[in-house]
């Protein structure tokens, strides 16, 4: 997986791994928009450029095996990667693809990743990640997951 520098188009390899207890010291609300300390008991992952310790984005999830589904509880990019003057492209896409791969590994063709963005944000997720809409819930299932992997995952 890679992120692309908005400044020069240069590509950087990224890695996504579980957040460790000592990471929470640097995961502040002012930089990552939510109180991530409240998510400490959940399954939380961080994305960073290989060789760097700076966290570019975070996602916390809940596995719902009886529905072959993983629900995204919180997802964010760091403050520097918000909006039109963001430093890197693809952060959220990589995080969603990573969670989708876990879902496929666990649930095969029944895999589903869901989230519930509010308001206009939902349309962005539908347009950008090809998400299905059911009521207020957005989801990617196997067709969309295969597309996401083709787009974001080169590993």
């Amino acid at each position: 997986m890679i992120v692309i520098s908005s400044a020069n188009g240069k590509e950087y390899k990224v890695e996504i791994e579980a957040v460790q207890a000592n990471d929470y010291k640097s995961i502040t609300k002012s930089r990552y928009f939510f109180d991530w300390k409240k998510e400490q008991s959940q399954e939380v992952y961080k994305i960073k450029i290989v060789g760097s310790s700076d966290i570019l984005g975070l996602v916390s999830v809940e596995r719902i095996p009886e529905e072959w589904r993983i629900h995204i509880r919180l997802i964010t990019v760091s403050k520097e990667n918000k909006g039109s003057d963001k430093e890197y492209e693809n952060i959220a896409g990589n995080l969603i693809t990573f969670i989708s791969k876990i879902a496929v590994r666990e649930y095969g063709e029944l895999a589903c990743v869901s989230l519930k963005p509010k308001g206009a944000i939902a349309q962005h997720y539908i347009d950008k990640f090809g998400m299905n809409i059911t009521g207020m819930t957005l989801s990617v299932e196997i067709e969309e997951i295969l597309e996401l992997i083709n787009t974001y995952d080169y590993d």
């Binding site: 629900h71 919180l74 990667n81 959220a92 308001g119 206009a120 962005h124 059911t134």
Partner: protein, 181 residues
């Protein structure tokens, strides 16, 4: 106008964060039920080709997970993955044996753990997988080899009490180097 401006701002920063935590278990169950109904409808249109792709992707991800964090269990992971691979693509295992030009009896013995796969078999499996995964996702050439040797290694380390006493009798070092003297 103000409303439009705010809307644009929201979309522009859309990826900065989504909080979609459920406020209650009931809400989660209700949403899950509605979502499941919609998913089942969508799954009806899922082609058998896509299902096979999904199963092969799942197999690849499971193998990668095993390589990263091998677990030693009584079951043989290599043959479990191999069986899953063959049975996902072929309705008869004999057809796979034909495609990689090996005897069907030999394949049966490998699949049932009565014979270890030789290099020829592993190499043909590697090329077969490369071709199979070509239109699905990237598949590392070394995956089958890594699974096979990772399992051997895990097995060896887990069973040290069985082989070590006998092997240690054959190992003597006359001039043992001591560090720190």
């Amino acid at each position: 106008m103000i409303k439009e401006k705010n809307k644009f701002k929201e979309i522009e920063g859309a990826e900065f964060g989504v909080d979609s935590r459920y406020t209650s278990k009931k809400k989660q169950l209700d949403d899950g039920k509605a979502l499941m109904e919609a998913r089942l409808q969508r799954m009806k249109n899922l082609s058998s080709d896509k299902i096979i792709k999904a199963k092969l992707l799942q197999l690849k991800l499971k193998m990668e997970e095993f390589i990263k964090e091998p677990i030693y269990q009584e079951e043989n992971h290599f043959t479990k993955f191999l069986t899953s691979y063959i049975d996902t693509i072929y309705s008869k295992r004999i057809d796979f044996a034909k495609d990689i030009d090996i005897d069907a009896n030999l394949l049966s013995k490998i699949v049932n753990n009565h014979r270890k796969p030789k290099e020829d078999f592993l190499l043909r499996l590697m090329i077969h997988s490369e071709k199979t995964y070509n239109n699905i996702c990237h598949f590392h050439k070394k995956t089958w080899y890594q699974v096979y040797f990772q399992e051997k290694l895990s097995e060896l380390m887990a069973n040290q009490d069985q082989w070590r006493p006998n092997v240690e009798r054959h190992v003597k070092i006359k001039n043992l180097i001591s560090v720190g003297d």
